[in-house]
Each structure stands twice: as structure tokens, then as C-alpha cells.
Symmetry: C3
């Protein structure tokens, strides 16, 4: 818009000169560069289209998390995790409508949170009808795009706490996370709050989305405790292999695919060549960070464990994606590969480390989203001169502390009121039978079948 | 286009005044608002792009129906339902090319049907080459978008009649549904026929697509009869659990994702800020109706059955989507949640009700698409003042009667000619072995394995 | 752009005449047609957006190949094929960045290959900032779109050689294919090399992508040999059914979906009505060629084998897609159906034929991508008057010979250095246990379970 405005001003000056000298012909030719630009209304449509495309791609990530987690839990808990995923996506949207969006974006003004109330589209529609396109995009497209991000944060928690958390308290926590925790910390940066004023830089949410999910998952996993039988008498972790690695792989591909919307549309504008160039660089960098993550996990697991580990490679792809999310624009492709590779390497070491701490993270989500997210956030100053390491660190710590404190309070209230953990028998039978009264794979001879008689 | 034209007219008036007074400078500045608008050719590209994006999203819904149904049938019938789904999508496209599109759109003029003949692109390409963009969009993009809708209607039937209908008569019925039934009733409203002239309002097809599929499925299910063993000696329905709930969940997510194209691109234009604002509202409403559907099904099944039902929650999401499809634009987000929630509640009660009527609907498609579609169509006047309840009712009844009559005729002809039902042995063995000579999951120890020796 | 320029010239002439006669009003009205066109910057954004949308759709095809192959191998090799697919996609991107893109596109000038070196975005960003949009699109969007094509070629090889090729040599071959073989032959046509100067026509890669993958797969399959037990004592092939036909179906739907990006965005421009019309025709033709392929396979397998074959129908869809890829723009829809149907028919006969030659192609990829690709390339002159059959043949033979020679050299070097084949015990146990130390479906009682004790 600014460029167009400058051109208009230049044209006015030229026209005044022309009128004085009678050079009408030159004046009429002068506007030519204006025709070459994107018109205001065209930019409005482009910007809105970007939010819509980005939004449906990120919405699709809900399916990715669902398949990833359905593939990595044991078959007796698959239907339950499917239900949790489709429910949390739904609840996240409703909470963001009821309270979250305005808490995050309405009148934060350098402070700690916005207003309380339902969201409804502002007057951009009315303005546009009068030919005033200065809003820049349709309000509902922005709301839709922001809403699918909330769901992403909630998806992270379900994977870590799978196989033993009860359905109802999990869904209540989801409502609290998406209606209160996420929007308040989101207000600090994206809503224009105090972190934003300090110069904190998190382009698409390594910290604001992924670490937030990771901190909530970490807090929950500690309060909830490990699955029965996860640790042997000597405290050594036992492998509990997932029921369907092709579904886990599919989920990873879905997430990778959706991440083009997650990072690309976080440019927030498509209405100029410059924006389209930026988004293109973001697409390339996002892809290559993930590619670097896969190859790094391949090589490291081959060296350390002699076998190449599929699950670790999937998590390596996701770690690369999380790591590049804080700054997908300024790195070169080579730098993006390195940022993703380091994220993946951290995850290869973090997963067994967290396991040894007896924090039972079923799908490795804490390592991927929290460790990867912290790394990505702290790496921003390496390629973006406007960011400072100290401010990045302050943001990571402040948001971490906030999420840990609120998550702890919420989980403890839930624990000592309705209880958050399945009883031993239910956990042994599996949450599918215990909570839903059905089986995910009734004919495939695995999982809960054998417990039916008990 | 109209807005641009108005602006041009305004500019002409202004210019005439200027010429009279010699205020050439002002005249030259006056066109500025025109630069701010979308140019005709840009609007053409936007509109076409909307159809293409909407089209591939709806095409993807074919995969969603396939996964949903593959997850909800028993493993001995999974390959057969996969084959039916990819075949019906293919046949729908071919029939719509051979006869359907022109029957629906070519010269309906307030009447009952259009012309008979192959479709080929009209002269929009020729016009565009001469700089005349008045066609507004590429003809083939519209054809593509309309074509994927036909396939959706056909997908609904396959789920209801799964596990016992023979492949060949099913595919013949698909050709009749997509080549004759769907296009004729479609002509009544979207083709500009008599229902359209009455003021019937069905934005994206609660009735024209979903109820049509639902009526055809209902008719077929009654004529076909229930699966062997579905009802016990006392006529009580027996549960026949689906083989893979994660695939059913995946299918639901795919449908939800594709529905943004289904409803969003039914705005039919993206070439102005106003259109982009409308599509954004449609995206938000579509999502929130589904979210409301999920949460309502969660709560209701928890209350009624004590257990939360995953399959019902998936159907709740779909019911919300079907319900909002007749009018996804005028409701507020809150209204969209309510419309979706009521659709879901209706389905929670309709599924056991239809079951008790001994109409065996394998996946619940009649409840979701027919009941949900009727509800959505009748709910239009609640938020859209241009619609009347009576006209909506006339549309629902007229289209219902038409589809029931033709479907009955077609199914009965097929029944008494080539037969529509697998024989008892084939149904027991499973349609995979009986019809395709293979198994969907040959190594997973379920389904048809045990029948191999028979 | 040319049209805009012509209009500008016309306007200049008109203005000069007006200035002479004082008809300023007419002059001011004259620019109207200019407003109707797409501005240069808007075209830049459209073109870039096309590459980005096309790019993410083709990226998603990597998931399609993965699911297709995961469904068609036995369960003891499913995790291994998943790992190969996500790894090859990652390696393809890295190799294309390190060497491939510039080898294919930088300074080919009618010759045989381009320059050697890393890729980085050229100066289109700098130009655009100065208001010069003549680059036409963002360099990184083009890179991203070209990069996902490389991965497609590599995906073809993994399916054919599944279940017995070792992981590490396969990944090394992938690096050589995507870094050297693909880019050099790609330079001959798309890079503006000698085939391009001859008038060879391959719109989206029937030869350049699909046949290349097919030739590499054929060479590899011959050098690698058939799976243990694939042929009985009399040399007759044994059926080795895939582990999950719904996953194979899902993969086919994903590929079909992604193919709209593959062919549609190969128009390489969306910045004019004419381009959007062309892309629309491509979408319709791409879809209908696949639909024709499905129906043809249905009918042929019903006639020949009495049973309708799901796997063959899936391959029929893919064969139709491969066949239309060389020329998706000039055929009418009817012609597209025929081209796809012939492609499918060829595959129905090629699969058992190749089987009888004792070339063990696990998923039928040689038939689909090589036979289908040759057919599609040779069929171009049937609808595109600018192409000649002889030149098409020269292209097919030249690229075939090149890929065969280099693939043979690479596979033989790998065979006699690190070895390319699992040993007999590992192949019997399955590559999941042997190479990854885990199982894809640990609870489903199939596949490698029974070998665990050995």
C-alpha cells in the first residue's frame, strides 16, 4: 500500500507541473507505473486468499497430529486418541471464538492481554463496500488463520499424555489452554504486547505455538506420571512400540504439507511482489529445514544405534520444521538446512534423555516441539540482525514460566477434583474399551482383544 | 464487475464536468479509486483460481468418503468399498461430461432440465483473447468444480449400501444417479430452473447434493435389505464394528478439509474484496458448524450412553458440515455453531432410529446427509431474510420425491434384471474375496481369513 | 504483458490525436481497457502463487507414493518403505539445492547440461523492489516447484525395488538420480537444451519425470533380481499381496489430487486470463484421463480375469495420469479420456508381461510410469500440431538410453562395493526388523511376527 501511495503522490506532483505547462500528454502517460502495481482491492483479495489457503493447510495439520499419534500409540488406545484429536480441534475453535481471539488481539497495546468477549468480524466488510480497502484483508480470514494455530498448540499435548490421561479432564484442559493460556501469552508478542515492544521475534510460532504446547505437555506428563510398565524394576524405560508406523508416517507428511501454510501464510500478506518473494523463500526454507532434519536423524541413529530409526526420522523432520518456524524468512537455504539439522540432532538426544528422567512422552512431542522450539527461537539472531539473543531468551523464559505455572495450576485442580488418570484396570484394558466402549481395530487380533475376558 | 462499471460511469460524469471547467488536474486525480479496484482480467483469474482450488479440495473429499467407509466396514469388505469409491468418482466425471453438465446448466430457463449432449468449453477462451473478460471465469474451471460435486452425491450412496450390494449394479446406478438424477434436480435450482425462480435457497448443496445422495441411499437400502445377521431373532440391531477407526477418523478430517472448497468456492467469485470477505465468513462458519457438531455429539453420547462414541462424533462433525452447507454465509459464527450442533443432535437420534426401522445404513450416511441436509435447508430462513420456509420445504419435498421415484425405478430394474445383492455365501465370505478375489488386509488375521476354508 | 504493452502503445497514439484536437475527455476515457488487464505486479504475484500451490500439491504426492507403496508391500517391509520414502524426498531436495537445479537450468543454451554449484535466488527480489517485475515470478517459488518434481522421479524407484534392496545403497542411488541423472536429462528439454531446440514436447514430464523414474527402476530391478520366492520352480510368478489395500487406495487418491499441481502449475503462469483458461483445461483433462484409466482397468480386468482388480484399477488411474502429463492442454476432454484409457490398457497388459519376464516390480511402477510415460509422450502429436512423432521418439530413446546407462553404472558400482541386496535371512525376516529393528504393525499378528523366533 505504501508503495502505491508514494506513486500516487509522485503522480500528483507531475500532474500539477503538466497542467502548468500544458503537457497533458506526458501527464497521461505518467501514470503507467501505477498500472504495473497491485491495486488496493487486488491486494485485499490476495491477502485474504493467503489467510484462507494458509488456514486450510494448518487445519489439515490437525489430521496430521491425529494420524501421527494414532500410529504411535498401542492399538488399544487408538480410537481414544482419534477422539481426543478431533475434539480438541473443535474445542480450540469454540474457545477461541468465545474468548481467545479478543484476549489475544483486541487492545493489548504493549500490555499483557486484550479484551474479554466473543469475536465478531469488525467493519472491514462495511469499509470495503464503500471502496475503502485499507483494512487490507477480510477480518474473518484472519480469525480463521489464527484459530487453526491455537488447535496446533493443543494437539501437542494429546500426544505426550496419551494412553493414560482420562478423556474429560484432558478436554477441559484443552479448553483452558486454548481459551486462556495460549491467547494471553500470544498477546505478549503477536497481539502487540510487552514482548513485541521489546523486539522479541517469533515469526510463525516456534515459541508461541510449539513451545507453549511443549511446556503444557511437559507439565502434564510430570503430574500425570508414566504409563504402567513403562519403567522396569530398575527404572529403565521399556519400548512400547506404536501400532501403525505407516499412519505415523502419513501424519508426518500431513504436518510437513500443512507447515507450508503455517509458515508461509505467517507472512500475513500476499498483496505485493515483495510479499510473494518472501513467501517463496519461506516455502523453500521450511521444506529444507525438514529435509535436513530427516537426513540428520538418519545419520545419527545409524551411527549411535547401528539401525536407522523410522520414528526418530519422522521426529527429525518435525524438529526441523519447528526449528525453522521462528524465522523461516531470513536464512538462506543452506542456513535453513543447518537450523533444521541442529533441531533434529537435539531431538535425537533429547528423546532418550527425557525418557531417562522418567517423563513418559508417548510420541516424543516434548523433544520435538519444546526443545526444537527453544532452539529455533534462540537461533533467530543468527540470521536476522533485528533480533537479539537476550530478548529471545527473555521471551522463551517468560512464556515458559507462564505456561508452566498456569498448566500446573490447571492440572492440579483437575487432578484433585475429577482426577486425570485412568485407573489401573482401565489403562490395562486400554482407553478405547474403558472410555469409548469400542475398539479401533476389532478384527486385527491385537491390543485390547486379549483383555476382553478380564 | 458491477462496482467497477459504476465507478467508470461516475468517472465519466466527473470528466465531463472537468472538461467543461478546465479542471484537468482534478479529472486526472479522480480516477484514483479505479486503480484501487480489481481489474476485469484480474477478477477473471481470481474467479477461475477459486474454482480450481475449490475443485481440488472437493475432489479430495472422494478420498475422504473412501477412507471413512473403508474404516467403517468390516475388513472382509474393505477392498470392495475402496474400488467402489474410486470407480464412482471416475464414472461420475465421465457421465457429467457425456450428459450431466448440459442437462443441468444449458438452457434450463426456469424449466425442468437443460439440453442433451457432451460438454465442451464455450467461447470464454476466445473472448478472453480479444480482451473481453466478461465471461468472468474459465469455462473449464466451472465444469471441473461442478463435476466434483456430482461425485460427492454418489459417494454418499456407497457407504449406506456397503457390504452386500454387488459391484456392477452399484456402478450402473452410480452412472444413472450422476448422469440423470443429479443433473435434472440440479437444473431446478442451480441451473436456473423452476425452484430457482421460486426463490429456493441452497447455497452449496445441503439439498441438491447431500439430500440427493441421502434419498438415493435410503431408497437403495430399503430395496436391498439389511446385511445378514444385522438383526437378531427379535429384530434388534446388532453392532457390526468397523475395521479401522483411525481410517474413519482420517476420512472425516479429509471431508472437513475439503468442505472449505465445497462451501467456500460455492461463492462462485473471488474477484472483489466483497467476495473475499464472504468466502472468509463461509470458511469460519463451515469450520465452526463442524466443531459444534463434534462437541454436541460428545456431550449427548456421554449423557445417553455413558460412553463417548467416536463414530458418532465423526458423524456429528459431518452433520454439522452438511447442515451449514445450505447457508454458510449469512449466519454469524455463533449461529453457525448452533446450526451445526442441532444437525449433530438430530443425527445422534436419527442413527438408532433408522436402525430400529430395520434400514441398514452401514456408515450412518442417511442420517448425516439426508437428515442433516433437510435440517440445513429448512434452517436457511433463520439467518437469511431472502429465503422463505415454505419455499425451502417445497424444494426439499420436490427434490426428495423426484429422487425417490427415479431411484426406486432404477434399483428395481437392476434388482429384477442382473440382481443387486450378493448371494449369501458371497456376503458371508466378504465382497473382497467374492467380487475382487483378494483381501484388503491379507496378513492381519481378521475378516475373511476364517471363511477361506469354506 | 505483451497485451498490456500493445494497449499502452494504442493509448499513446490516441492521446496524441486527442491532444491535437483538444478531445481530452475521450483521451481520459480511452485508458479503460488498460484497467481491464492484469497489472505487471499482480501477474508476478499470480505466477508465484501458482508455483507455490502447485509445489505444495506435488510435495504431497510424496505422501501418496509412500502410502501406495506401504499398502502394496508385505507388512514385514512397511516401515522400511516408509523410511525410504521420507528419506528420498529429503535427499532429493538437498541434492537439487546442492547441484541439481543449476545443472538443469543455468546456462544450458541448447547444450547438454548447465552449471555446477549451489542454487541461490537470483536478483528477482532486488528487481521487484525497484518496481521492475520483469522476472515474472519469485525465483524461490520456481525452485520449490522444480524441486518437488525431482522427488517424484525418485519415488518411482522405491516402489519397484521394495522388499529386498538395502536402505543405504538405495539412498545413495537416490542422491545420484536426483543430483545427476535427472537434472542432466532435464536440461535437454526444460533447461533449454538440445531436445528443446529440436522441438521435443513434454509439458509436465511423462518422459522427463515418469519415464526417468521408470527407466531407473527397470535397470535397478534387473540388476537387483526378484524377491525370494517370487517365482516358483517352473518360473511362474507367485502373487505376493500387499498388506493394506486401503492405504494403497489412499496413496492413489493423494497422487491424483497432487497431479492437479503437477500438470496445472506446469503451465508456469497464472498472470492472465489466457493462462487461467489453460490451467482449467489442464485440470479437467488431468482428471478425466485418470477417470478413463480407472474405468478401462475395471472393464478389462472384469473381461480378462472375471474379477475386477482393485490394484489394477489404482494403477489404471495412475497410468491415465502419467499418459496425459506430456500434453494435458491441447486434448479435448474426450481425447483426454481416450489417452488415459489407452495408457491404462497398456498397463493392464504390461504388468503381467513384465512379471513373466521375471522382472520383479513390487508395485507395478515400471508399467505405470515407464510404459504410460512413453505412450503419453508419443501421443502428443495426436492433439498438438507443433509436435512431431519423430522428435518425440528421439526424446524418448535419448533420455531412455541416458538413464539406462547411468543407472546401470551406478547400480553396478553399488552392487560390487557395498552390495545392494539384503541377505537371504534379512529378506525372509523382513527389512523392517533387519534394517530398522522394529515392526510397522507390531500388534497385528502378521508379517515378521512369525519369523521372530528364527
Amino acid at each position: 500500500m505504501k508503495r502505491l501511495f508514494d506513486q500516487m503522490k509522485g503522480r500528483m506532483r507531475l500532474l500539477r507541473a503538466c497542467a502548468a505547462t500544458g503537457l497533458v500528454v506526458s501527464a497521461l502517460l505518467a501514470p503507467a507505473p501505477v498500472f504495473a502495481a497491485v491495486s488496493e482491492e487486488t491486494a485485499f483479495v490476495f491477502n485474504t486468499l493467503l489467510f484462507l489457503i494458509g488456514g486450510f493447510l494448518v487445519m489439515w495439520m490437525a489430521a496430521g497430529f491425529c494420524m501421527l499419534e494414532a500410529g504411535l500409540v498401542r492399538s488399544k488406545n487408538v480410537a481414544d486418541i482419534c477422539l481426543k484429536n478431533i475434539s480438541l480441534y473443535s474445542i480450540a475453535g469454540i474457545m477461541y471464538y468465545l474468548i481467545g481471539y479478543r484476549l489475544m488481539y483486541d487492545g493489548v497495546d504493549g500490555g499483557f492481554m486484550g479484551a474479554i468477549g466473543f469475536w465478531s468480524p469488525d467493519d472491514s466488510a462495511a469499509l470495503a463496500e464503500t471502496g475503502d480497502f485499507s483494512a487490507g484483508y477480510a477480518a474473518a480470514s484472519d480469525w480463521f488463520f489464527q484459530m487453526v494455530f491455537v488447535a496446533t498448540a493443543a494437539s501437542i499435548v494429546s500426544g505426550t499424555m496419551a494412553e493414560r490421561v482420562k478423556l474429560v479432564p484432558f478436554l477441559i484442559f484443552t479448553a483452558l489452554l486454548t481459551g486462556i493460556i495460549y491467547p494471553i501469552q500470544g498477546a505478549w508478542h503477536w497481539g502487540g504486547g510487552w514482548l513485541s515492544e521489546m523486539g522479541f521475534a517469533d515469526f510463525a510460532g516456534s515459541t508461541l505455538v510449539h513451545s507453549v504446547g511443549g511446556w503444557a505437555a511437559l507439565t502434564g506428563a510430570i503430574i500425570l506420571g508414566a504409563r504402567l510398565g513403562k519403567y522396569d524394576a530398575h527404572g529403565r524405560p521399556r519400548a512400547m512400540p506404536g501400532s501403525s508406523l505407516p499412519l505415523a508416517t502419513l501424519g508426518t507428511f500431513v504436518l510437513w504439507f500443512g507447515w507450508f501454510g503455517f509458515n508461509g501464510a505467517s507472512q500475513l500478506a500476499l498483496g505485493s511482489a515483495a510479499d510473494s518473494i518472501a513467501i517463496s523463500q519461506i516455502f523453500a526454507n521450511t521444506n529444507m529445514a525438514a529435509a535436513g532434519g530427516v537426513v540428520t536423524a538418519l545419520i545419527l541413529t545409524r551411527i549411535i544405534y547401528k539401525k536407522v530409526d523410522l520414528t526418530m526420522s519422522l521426529n527429525g523432520a518435525l524438529a526441523g520444521l519447528v526449528a525453522i518456524t521462528a524465522e523461516p524468512l531470513t536464512p538462506s537455504i543452506g542456513q535453513a538446512i543447518i537450523i533444521g539439522s541442529i533441531g533434529s540432532a537435539l531431538v535425537v538426544f533429547a528423546i532418550p534423555f527425557i525418557d531417562r528422567l522418567k517423563i513418559d512422552d508417548v510420541v516424543g512431542a516434548i523433544s520435538v516441539h519444546l526443545v526444537g522450539g527453544i532452539w529455533g527461537t534462540l537461533a533467530v539472531p543468527l540470521t536476522n540482525g533485528d533480533a537479539s539473543f537476550l530478548t529471545q531468551l527473555i521471551g522463551v523464559v517468560a512464556i515458559g514460566a507462564f505456561v508452566i505455572v498456569l498448566s500446573t495450576i490447571f492440572w492440579l485442580i483437575l487432578k484433585y477434583s475429577i482426577g486425570i488418570r485412568l485407573d489401573e484396570e482401565a489403562e490395562t484394558i486400554g482407553s478405547d474399551i474403558a472410555e469409548l466402549g469400542l475398539e479401533a481395530y476389532p478384527e486385527f487380533g491385537g491390543g485390547s482383544h486379549k483383555y476382553r475376558g478380564t
